[in-house]
């Protein structure tokens, strides 16, 4: 399975979007609001839809039928697996970094 690192500059937005969809299906505007509340980052509309297109093309999310011209997206099993792997690695790096900082 290809990793998120192949997404280049869209890697970080992809992690944020996938994290936002763990709670359940959301459409673009709700994803932006959730990420803003979660991480204090505001994704621009161009970045958001470039990220959604990449994630959908790789089968990590899937679009549901549109509601009032807004299409909700849902996390797939492959997307959840990839996100879990990524967050575990981030947690490991974070733990190691904080432990080293504590010794300084």
């Amino acid at each position: 399975m290809p990793g998120l690192s192949e997404l280049g500059r869209f890697e970080e937005p992809a992690v944020l979007v996938l994290t936002s969809l763990v709670d359940g299906p959301r459409h673009g505007y709700a994803i932006v609001k959730d990420i803003q509340a979660l991480a204090g980052i505001r994704l621009g509309p161009g970045t958001l839809y470039a990220t959604l297109a990449r994630l959908e093309a790789r089968g990590l999310i899937e679009g549901l039928p549109a509601q009032d011209r807004r299409r909700p997206y849902r996390l797939t099993g492959a997307g959840a697996e990839l996100l879990r792997d990524r967050l575990e690695r981030m947690e490991s790096i974070s733990r190691t970094g904080l432990a080293r900082l504590a010794r300084v």
Partner: protein, 136 residues
């Protein structure tokens, strides 16, 4: 302004995401950063189009069919050529065998004679007579 920015995206991309991006932008005041972000998104969509998986599979299937057809044609041509080459070699062998046989009939020593690696058989000094004489 929104319509103009959306028009910068490729038609295929607009067909898939245009309506929802327009709905996403509706009611929002676009600032300069959003406009730059959308321009970057349009450029990215042209330069690195992201195809849905189904289309990618269809594209791969089409490529596989083309490659398979090419392989079949190459094998068929190679087989025909091989058959022709084999037929030509067979014909040459038959012709060579015919020439060797004809050469032997005319006294040509041919391969295996003296001077051609196989020594000539020495003449028998006291050959037995073909018809034995009875001694009394």
């Amino acid at each position: 302004m929104t319509g103009l920015l959306l028009a910068l995206y490729p038609p295929g991309w607009r067909a898939r995401y245009g309506v929802e991006l327009a709905a996403h932008l509706r009611g929002q005041r676009l600032n300069a950063r959003d406009i730059v972000d959308l321009l970057g998104g349009a450029l990215d969509a042209w330069l690195r189009p992201q195809w849905p998986r189904r289309r990618r599979r269809a594209w791969r299937a089409a490529l596989a069919i083309v490659l398979a057809a090419t392989a079949v044609i190459v094998v068929a041509v190679a087989t025909i050529l091989w058959i022709r080459i084999a037929a030509l070699v067979g014909l040459l062998i038959v012709l060579l065998a015919f020439l060797v046989r004809r050469g032997r009939r005319r006294g040509w020593p041919g391969p295996g004679a003296a001077g051609a690696g196989v020594p000539a058989r020495p003449k028998d000094p006291d050959p037995e007579p073909l018809v034995a004489t009875r001694r009394r």
